[in-house]
């Protein structure tokens, strides 16, 4: 894969809680974060802490949030997503969401997130579109 060369082991990390797993991968100024499991008030704390740390260390990071592995999300999850969006914007970055699974579609729809954030069907589409928008 062409992009694999730009990824080093140092730039990948994983956070586990009982119901949620967060895996991240950095590709230059892009941070790709994949969530697997259940994102609720309980698991939100770990996600918020880890992502914020990464965003503060590398200001100007663009975040691609891959939700394909989520089996559950409620309004606490929406709060985490909105919170990261505001933080990234304040640090000069962009944020996109990819792969909304069927199980959380309705919550996302009601939230109106699509009105303020970019949604893409795949990580490669998000990377392509976001890189295009930055030039």
């Amino acid at each position: 894969m062409g992009t694999a060369k730009s990824v080093t082991r140092r730039n990948e990390w994983q956070v586990m809680s009982v119901n949620l797993e967060l895996t991240t991968k950095r590709e230059h100024q892009f941070l790709i974060a994949a969530l697997t499991g259940e994102l609720d008030h309980h698991s939100a704390e770990a996600v918020r802490g880890k992502l914020d740390l990464e965003l503060e260390i590398h200001p100007g990071t663009h975040l691609i949030l891959d939700l394909s592995g989520l089996t559950f999300m409620d309004s606490s999850g929406l709060g985490v997503i909105l919170g990261r969006y505001r933080k990234i914007k304040s640090l000069g970055g962009e944020m996109a969401i990819v792969n909304i699974p069927h199980a959380i579609e309705k919550v996302v729809q009601i939230s109106g997130l699509h009105k303020i954030m970019h949604f893409y069907r795949s990580k490669s589409e998000a990377l392509r579109e976001m890189k295009g928008g930055l030039h």
Binding site: V18, N19, E38, D40, H41, H42, A44, R48, F72, D74, S75, S76, L78, G79, V80, L82, G83, A103, K106, V107, I110, S111
Partner: protein
Amino acid sequence: MFENEMNLSFLSLSENESFARVAVASFVAQLDPTLEEINEVKTVVSEAVTNSIIHGYPEKNGYIYLNCKISGDRMELIITDHGIGIKDLEQAQQPLYTSRPDLERSGMGFTIMESFVDQFHVTSEEGNGTTIHMVKYFKTSKRAIYSEV
């Protein structure tokens, strides 16, 4: 008509959010709902329980009481806490309103609950706690089909 009822009480710890929604989802599975309906039930339980944990018992833990009745194709869910209550119920139910922006609450909890059930009612008294009462009909339930025969 098939009828069943259960009661749960548990401490207001965030660890119990997933426990509560899984318990109710398993219980209502007797009505043979669709995956989408099960997801909606899990979401409303999670919202109500999280509300009690964050807003009902912000400083010290207390008990959350959950009563679930199923009858035919109907589920009735009552979630109660004896916490601090909600000062302004009308304001609390406005979409995007949150009393705790410091905790990154989205202010969508009540809106989501209202959208995912057929009947929704909140009562609250300052100093005495909050009760959320919800009714949901499982439209594709096999038991609903049987009851029409």
